[in-house]
């Protein structure tokens, strides 16, 4: 038992799960058990969106210091707007809409990487700049009009299976695939290697450029995917639909134990952290404290979790 625990506590993701469970227990203690299951269901359905983009952001952050994709929120918006406008509430146009939305996400990824590689703009600023352009594209294309998703998409996005959102299962599958890619493919190893030492990665014969390209593409495509399903889930695309996801995408990655300095990624941690941040928000809402206190508590709890977890990490 104690040995299992000793092994478990070495895992960087364990702390986000412990935090999540602690927050959940505190919440249901407050409500005297009322709604304990429903809260978890809600957490799962909302956390999936954060997890989708978190996985992309995780890959980007893993490629090393300075790498972060700030264009995710704008890409979510653009993909959502494009999908909804092309689908135009018509089930028959579902696939074209998805293809178009993923197509523009592809272009976003290409553009981001072009800025980073060809113009050698530091990723953080390249993606910030491109996010402005992407948002403008969404504004000028969508005109701020909110179109409902086709019923099939809406049903799919809100469907549940055995009380668990269908999307959560799919995102679980996606997570397993990404974890496998990271551990067991040369692309994944290359990403981890670049994050530790890009020069050494080049000399070890790894294809550094291709891996970085693929990573920014992956992040953009996952953001696009999130845009599509989120529009389906929440009844349409809006220009501000991505706003909450900027800090969230970074937060779930780093709270989940992925190294900010690159070279170490953690898929289960993204789940733990996404659920934790959602439940934390819910807990503070349910406690009914005023906004200032809620914000302070949010910050302090994040710092507390990372502090408890941090001592066991080898590197920052």
């Amino acid at each position: 038992m104690s040995e299992a625990w000793a092994k478990l506590r070495q895992q960087p993701w364990i702390w986000s799960f412990i935090a999540m469970i602690a927050v959940w227990l505190a919440t249901i203690a407050f409500t005297r058990g009322q709604g304990s299951g429903e809260i978890l269901t809600a957490a799962l359905s909302f956390a999936t969106f954060t997890i989708i983009i978190g996985l992309g952001q995780m890959m980007v952050i893993t490629t090393g210091p300075g790498n972060v994709d700030l264009s995710i929120p704008a890409t979510i918006t653009l993909a959502g707007v494009v999908a909804m406008k092309i689908m135009d509430t018509d089930n028959a146009r579902l696939l074209i809409g998805i293809a178009a939305a993923l197509g523009v996400s592809f272009l976003v990824g290409l553009f981001n990487y072009g800025l980073i590689r060809l113009l050698r703009i530091p990723p953080i600023i390249a993606t910030l700049s491109s996010s402005f352009l992407i948002l403008s594209t969404a504004i000028s294309y969508g005109r701020g009009i909110r179109i409902k998703p086709p019923p099939m998409l809406a049903d799919f996005a809100t469907a549940t299976l055995l009380g668990v959102p269908l999307l959560a299962f799919l995102v679980l599958a996606l997570s397993i695939i990404i974890a496998l890619i990271l551990k067991r493919t040369s692309y994944g190893r290359t990403v981890l290697a670049i994050g530790q030492n890009p020069r050494a990665a080049r000399f070890a014969g790894l294809n550094v450029d291709l891996a970085r390209f693929a990573t920014y593409m992956l992040s953009a495509l996952l953001a696009g995917l999130c845009g599509i399903v989120l529009s389906g889930f929440s009844g349409g695309a809006a220009l501000n639909m991505g706003e909450g996801f900027l800090l969230a995408s970074i937060a779930v990655v780093v709270i989940g134990g992925t190294s900010v300095a690159g070279g170490r990624a953690n898929v289960p941690g993204v789940w733990g952290a996404a659920l934790f941040t959602y439940l934390l928000d819910t807990m503070l809402n349910i406690f009914g404290a005023n906004a200032g206190i809620r914000l302070i508590m949010t910050g302090l709890i994040i710092i507390a979790v990372i502090t408890i977890a941090g001592g066991d990490r080898q590197q920052r």
Partner: protein
């Protein structure tokens, strides 16, 4: 005579349908005015983020550009006072609307946000004699509009003590955020009779109730077309009743005319109040018809309408 006067719109946010509607109304009405030779120019300017400093810098640049009047939807009521004063000192007419500024030299076209909160409770008190539990969806913490509407709701609750706010979440005026927050708090709440909002979050709230398998309470709507359409659907299916209240984005055009009148040398009181746009059960179909699909219920002002408002009629 204002035919060689130039007016600018200083806007600080474009990321939601209300603001897009506002810009569209501005575009429609001022293009016509320019074509008619009423003014020489009426250019809209938007900053990328809802930030005081960016808007302040923007206004300073507008001063340099030599506009005769600047119409402002301000990011903060006090924090732009410095630059508004600079504009006034440079002889520029400043008209603020929706997000008004407190600097005395500027004109203010205010919406009584507090009342917007209070009427929701009055409506509910009328509808539900026994009162009940309420869920409040607020906006972005620390912003003036959020505070004002919230105070209105608090006052309303004090006036109608049969109501009790059992839960309050910040939806940051974004549907996804609101839906997320409501879904989270809902399982912990007792039966909710009604949801009071700040506009635009009604549809998201309805979705969250549906997803949680709870009976749909009375949700106050915020004039968006998707909300009205949902309301209509419910009304047709089960006679659902509610009201909808928000500010018409076309208030930007009122501000435009006010600026034009001031430039024209007309006497215009510094403080004007515009009524918010309220849609009742009976007006639903009509409003839905006139509202663009995916847009916001709107009222645009003609010069005559504006003169009526100024005259206090």
């Amino acid at each position: 005579d204002t035919k060689d006067k130039k007016i600018a719109l200083s806007n600080n946010y474009a990321g939601n349908s209300w603001r897009q509607s506002m810009l569209k109304s501005w575009d429609k009405v001022t293009k016509q005015a320019v074509a008619d030779g009423v003014v020489a120019a009426a250019d809209p300017f938007t900053t990328s983020e809802n930030q005081v400093t960016e808007q302040a810098a923007q206004i300073q640049n507008l001063i340099l550009q030599g506009y005769n009047a600047i119409v402002i939807n301000a990011a903060s009521p006090d924090a732009l006072n410095g630059v508004v004063k600079q504009a006034c000192d440079a002889g520029i007419t400043v008209v603020s609307f929706d997000g008004i500024v407190t600097e005395p030299c500027a004109w203010r076209i205010a919406v009584d946000f507090k009342k917007m909160g209070a009427v929701q409770l009055d409506y509910l008190a009328d509808k539900m004699k026994d009162g009940g539990n309420l869920l409040e969806i607020r906006g972005l913490a620390g912003v003036f509009v959020d505070d004002a509407i919230h105070k209105g709701i608090e006052e309303g609750v004090a006036k109608h003590p049969q109501f009790k706010v059992v839960g309050s979440v910040h939806g940051d005026w974004a549907q996804e955020v609101a839906q997320k927050a409501v879904a989270g708090i809902l399982p912990s709440l007792p039966e909710v009779k009604a949801v009071v909002t700040q506009g635009g979050d009604g549809y998201g709230a309805a979705q969250a109730f549906k997803a949680a398998g709870r009976p749909t309470p009375l949700i106050i709507m915020g004039n968006r077309q998707d909300e009205l359409a949902w309301w209509k659907e419910q009304k047709d299916a089960n006679g659902y009743e509610t009201m909808s209240v928000s500010i018409a984005p076309g208030v930007s055009t009122l501000a435009f005319w006010v600026a034009q009148m001031v430039l024209d040398g007309k006497q215009v009181p510094k403080d004007l109040v515009v009524p918010f746009l309220r849609i009742n059960q009976a007006d639903l179909e009509k409003s839905l018809e006139t509202t663009e699909k995916g847009g916001v219920a709107n009222v645009e002002y003609s010069k005559e309408d504006a003169e009526k408002v100024v005259a206090g009629k």
